[in-house]
């Protein structure tokens, strides 16, 4: 029987890579009996979604005028344009 500590690690692994079906089943069965692991996994999945949403959240960030000037100068300097 896998303990909570191992379940939390396995659940994290399953977010990064595919894990064997038997382990997935073990997680599922464990979650039916363990509210704390259930909450933990819900929370790390929320973190996962939050990170995936960072880019969308930062849509209002732009290169500064100065930065654009610096880049443009470099591009010109490279005499490519």
């Amino acid at each position: 029987m896998l303990k909570c500590k191992q379940i939390t690690e396995l659940a994290s692994n399953s977010l990064d890579t595919s894990i064997p079906w038997l382990k997935r089943l073990q997680i599922k069965l464990h979650l039916m009996m363990c509210e704390t692991c259930y909450q933990y996994i819900k929370q790390i999945k929320f973190i996962q979604n939050t990170i995936s949403g960072i880019e969308k959240h930062q849509e209002n960030i732009f290169l500064s005028v100065e930065a654009k000037k610096r880049i443009q100068a470099k591009l010109n300097q490279a005499k490519i344009l």
């Binding site: 996962q48 995936s52 959240h57 930062q58």
Partner: protein, 190 residues
């Protein structure tokens, strides 16, 4: 190849500069580095433009170049000199959360309306703070893996890891520490 205005390298900085900058900034978390990467990407793109097949959009093609530049950046700044110690990996936190048998000895309270938090500016501020509190390489790793551009092999190489197993363990500990930080700094205050 017919060139539309969008294809014209002279307009790339205006058309794609901001998009490339945001893409880089999320991943490298430094404005100066992100700016350098945009510049290198545009230079490389201009030099290689005759090899551009037109099968993808210029936008996708430039983003592909940037992804390589980002991995190169992390590879150049390899972390092997400072390997993660037990405290980095949250051994203390692990031991306070679980008993000897590996069962929870703390209670996890359900996070109230987490999805609503995403609409709050203050939440993102706290989230960034919690990321910044992590050892840099752990935060970098979590971002790169979760945003999905870097293979596990590349991650291992950058981190100096021999096996992917070390990678999965590190990511698990990173999430554990981040969860703890958000719990204390955000959800418990709600």
């Amino acid at each position: 190849m017919p060139h539309t205005t969008q294809d014209n390298p002279e307009s790339w900085l205006d058309n794609y500069g901001d998009m490339l900058y945001r893409f880089a900034l999320v991943r490298v978390r430094s404005e100066a580095t992100a700016e350098d990467l945009v510049q290198d990407t545009l230079l490389a793109g201009i030099q290689a433009f005759d090899k551009f097949s037109g099968q993808s959009s210029v936008r996708t093609w430039l983003t592909g170049i940037l992804k390589h530049k980002i991995i190169d950046h992390f590879r150049k700044n390899r972390y092997d000199s400072q390997s993660l110690n037990d405290s980095d990996l949250g051994e203390d936190l692990l031991n306070s959360q679980f008993d000897q048998q590996g069962k929870w000895q703390i209670d996890l309270v359900e996070w109230a309306t987490p999805d609503c938090s995403l609409n709050e500016q203050q939440f993102w501020h706290v989230f960034q703070q919690c990321l910044d509190r992590l050892p840099k390489k752990m935060a970098d790793l979590l971002l790169l893996r979760t945003l999905g551009d870097v293979s596990s092999e590349d991650c291992c190489q950058v981190l100096g890891y021999e096996t992917t197993n070390q990678l999965w363990v590190t990511l698990s500990r990173t999430r554990m520490k981040l969860r703890q930080c958000l719990d204390v700094k955000w959800f418990e205050t709600k």
